[in-house]
Amino acid sequence: MTDLGPDSPAPRRAALPRLSPKLVTGLALITAITLFGVAGPLLLGDPDAINDIGLTSPGGGHVLGTTQMGQDVLAQIAYATRGSLYIGVLVGVMATVLSALFGIVGSYVGGVVDEAFSLFSNVMLVIPGLPLVIVISAFVPPEQRGAWTIAVVLAITGWAGSARVLRAQTLTLRNREYVLAARVAGEPAWRIITVEILPNLLPLLASQFVFSVIAAILSEAGLSFLGLGASNSSTLGTMLYYAQNGFALQRGAWWWFAPPGLIIALFGCGLALVNFSIDEIINPRLRAVPRRIRHPRREPAPVGRPSQDVVVSVRNLSVTYGNTVQAVKDVSLEVRRGEILGLAGESGSGKTTLAYAINRLHRPPAEVTAGSVTFHHRDGGDTDVLALPSGELRAFRWSQMSVVFQGAMNSLNPVMTIRAQLEDVLTTHRPRLSRHDRRARCARALELVGVDPARLRSYPHELSGGMRQRVMIAMAMLLDPQVMIMDEPTSALDVVVQRGILREILRLRDELGFGIVLITHDLPLLLEVSDRIAVMLGGEIVECAAAEEVLARPRHPYTRRLLGSFPSLTGERGAFVRTGEATGGAR
């Protein structure tokens, strides 16, 4: 029922990153450096050939100059790049395999195995890696310290972070219904892990692999720079070690020590850029949003009030997503004082977008392209909401129009107490209120919705779903607003709890006289509690009439279809039930 908007996942096609400038730059850097490392040694001659020209600056026969022994720096870099890449990839592969073993297998099997694997990974994670590597390398005699030894040591000390990430992700995947369905179908465990779970972890594995390669190249460079690297191979780190010991820095031989570091940095940067693209697959929210479109400030042009009891007039409102999808099309609507206006529709009908746009809560790429929203104050005066400057908009929000969102579970900040979140409203909108009065008002608001004021000290996770939604309603009426927008306020709750909350809403409405825009897909509920009902389909209001009218004489075919979708609890068993597929059908 949620409007997922543009971030509904689209794997497989999305398993390949989009070609963004970042990705292209990253791939270009990686390819260029890899080619240099692979082909360079074949073309550039012997890196160890000693020349009697000593330390020479770039130019002449040596593009990047020579070392103090007259060796060609460019040829050395080519060999060193190859050595570094070799170790980087080696460690990347080994660390990824280890992390997959401990992270994925452990968490799928669960129980004691998971506990043990997880404890082991966490211990390996908190023990500082490089000191351990240094100690291990120091115990291995130099003649036995080959590239493989170094790679194994780096892999053993470097897999734990990835294992933790993979474990967390696998834990969520193993309870996905498609994994459960595979178990019910009788798939063996190894097949569930490799065929059902692993493919969905690919982006994450790729990003962890890239990360371990960067980390390995950097660690190896550090180790070699300290003189503890592989004794039989030349890497960018060993090159820097010789440069440092040859006093390259002191002698101003920048061509000797600058390029190796630069190559590491550029390669790492290339990998990191690729990782960005992978991250955007894992978390689609990270994809760049189009820039905020700035519109010229509108002159306020409030619509005159049609009649005394109207509190909000919406005229010809259109909202589009990124100039392509029209979510709300030319909608006109009035909310009257003290009434419950039901907004019915299914997912994608634009009902939530419409409600948000009334309070200007829509976010880019959503944009109001036409129409107006006018607020009519109870003591006279009209406000063109869409033209309010930001400071006045903030003052307008909540004090005139408050909102209760659909996620009963997520509307409250999990790390703040209930009191802090209630008081936030008062300190912002009623700054002169004394601390004592503020507390008293918050306590009274909770009492009004039937929640014990002792709960002020609680955190959201300590309350039940129904209680949280009551707190939200208390918060929404804290400033005595004239309109409340409620987006599926009870949909996530059980019917009995739902009843209790609806009772509070109706009672408060009678006492305080605010108008309510009640958005829900639950038509029977609207028919029972609201005064008027607007039915939305494809961004348009296809029918708007008094509730009794909608029930007795629905005019639009879609309204009739919606009504027919709810079998009556106590009425006749309709002809449509259990006879095959007379209604509905695949969409």
């Binding site: 970042k22 404890l119 966490n122 211990v123 994670l125 908190v126 023990i127 500082p128 490089l130 000191p131 351990l132 100690v135 291990i136 115990f139 291995v140 005699p141 972070g161 950097l218 460079a221 550090g222 720079f225 300290l226 503890l228 820097l240 440092q244 190796p260 570091g261 590491i264 940095a265 550029l266 790492g268 940067c269 990191a272 991250d279 978390n283 929210r285 990270l286 949003v289 820039r291 309070n359 809560l361 880019p364 908009l393 903030r394 929000r397 909540w398 004090s399 909102v403 969102f405 996620g407 997520n410 409250l412 900040n413 999990p414 790390v415 703040m416 936030d424 912002t428 955190y459 996770h461």
Partner: protein, 331 residues
């Protein structure tokens, strides 16, 4: 309560694992470190009394025929007393004393650099995530280059530019040897002056991780309902950004502190080497070059304890920031 018990238990287990690792590494490696050590010691004119030899044997393992379990127990006893043996490179100073003089340098350097890096990185990341789609987005690729630069190379470049070329900062050392270490202004001023470049190296290299982590989490957090609710409440932007979005967005970064700290400690060891900084990293390398295995192992253990301690503090902090952990959910 349960959370705290779990955490303490975990760090005890990690400590035990590190100590045990320390016991087995020399025993699993090829070569006979004790003989090498003894030879070194004799070169330096040190007398090899049986007691010292015994300490080394426990630490490094050698073929004495004593059962492994017994060796292990005696070794644990020595560790409990802080008895790491005698340093060869600084003979006849005990390892614990060598560590005691160099540890404060590193703790202060790494501590200050980490705090700065967290504040700057998390601060920028918060704003970059909040104002997505503005020029701040370009900060992200820029910092990845910095994060991919090897620590020591960055240190070399900084020294070349600010030390050699511009002469603003001293090239090496932790303080001017003209001053006596202690609580006097001359010395402290000199120490700060010497510490700026090493600290800058660590901050520049590690700031990117914090920035990226917080920025990405900000972007995710901004689409949470409670942020939308806060906006609908008409709260000032700053309040929504810090109290509603950033406080929640920072949680994974804090939970991942162990990984970041590991990188910083690794980086600081190499950085100290470049600056010949009188900290524990330089001592570790000195020990490696002199085959001073006792000192090496002592330093590894002390570093581990320090890192575990820092992580424990962060975990406790986490439980203050996130009330849900205190409720006893799985930590």
């Amino acid at each position: 309560m349960r959370y705290y018990v779990r955490k303490f238990g975990f760090y005890l287990a990690a400590l035990w694992a590190a100590v045990t690792l320390n016991f087995f590494i020399p025993r699993m490696m090829p070569g006979d470190p004790v003989s090498i050590l003894m030879a070194k010691l004799q070169q330096r004119g040190g007398s090899v009394n049986p007691e010292a030899r015994r300490a080394y044997e426990l630490l490094l393992g050698t073929d004495t025929g004593e059962p492994l379990a017994k060796q292990y127990l005696s070794y644990l006893g020595n560790m409990l007393h802080g008895d790491f043996g005698i340093s060869v490179s600084a003979y006849p100073v005990p390892v614990s004393e060598v560590i005691a003089t160099s540890l404060p340098w590193t703790v202060v350097l790494v501590g200050i650099a980490t705090v700065l890096s967290v504040l700057v990185g998390a601060g920028l990341g918060m704003v970059a995530g909040w104002r997505r789609g503005t020029w701040l987005d370009s900060l992200v690729p820029a910092t990845t280059v910095l994060a991919a630069v090897p620590y020591f190379w960055l240190a070399l470049v900084l020294v070349a530019v600010f030390g050699s070329a511009l002469g603003w900062f001293p090239l090496i050392g932790g303080y001017d040897v003209d001053f006596t270490p202690g609580w006097n202004l001359d010395f402290l001023g000199s120490a700060v002056h010497h510490g700026i470049l090493p600290a800058l190296t660590i901050v520049i290299s590690s700031v990117g991780g914090w920035l990226l982590g917080l920025r990405n989490m900000m972007v995710s957090t901004l689409s949470e309902d409670y942020v939308l609710t806060a906006t609908a409440k008409g709260l000032p932007d700053r309040r929504v950004m810090i109290w509603y979005a950033a406080r929640n967005a920072a949680l994974p970064s804090i939970a991942g502190f162990a990984i970041s700290l590991g990188f910083v400690v690794a980086g600081s060891i190499v950085t100290e080497q470049v600056f010949s900084y009188p900290g524990i990293g330089s001592k570790l390398l000195e020990a490696v070059q002199n085959n001073d295995y006792a000192l090496m192992q002592g330093i590894f253990l002390v570093t581990t304890v320090a890192v575990l301690g820092a992580n424990l503090v962060v975990d406790l902090l986490y439980s203050v920031i996130d009330p849900r952990t205190r409720a006893g959910a799985n930590a």
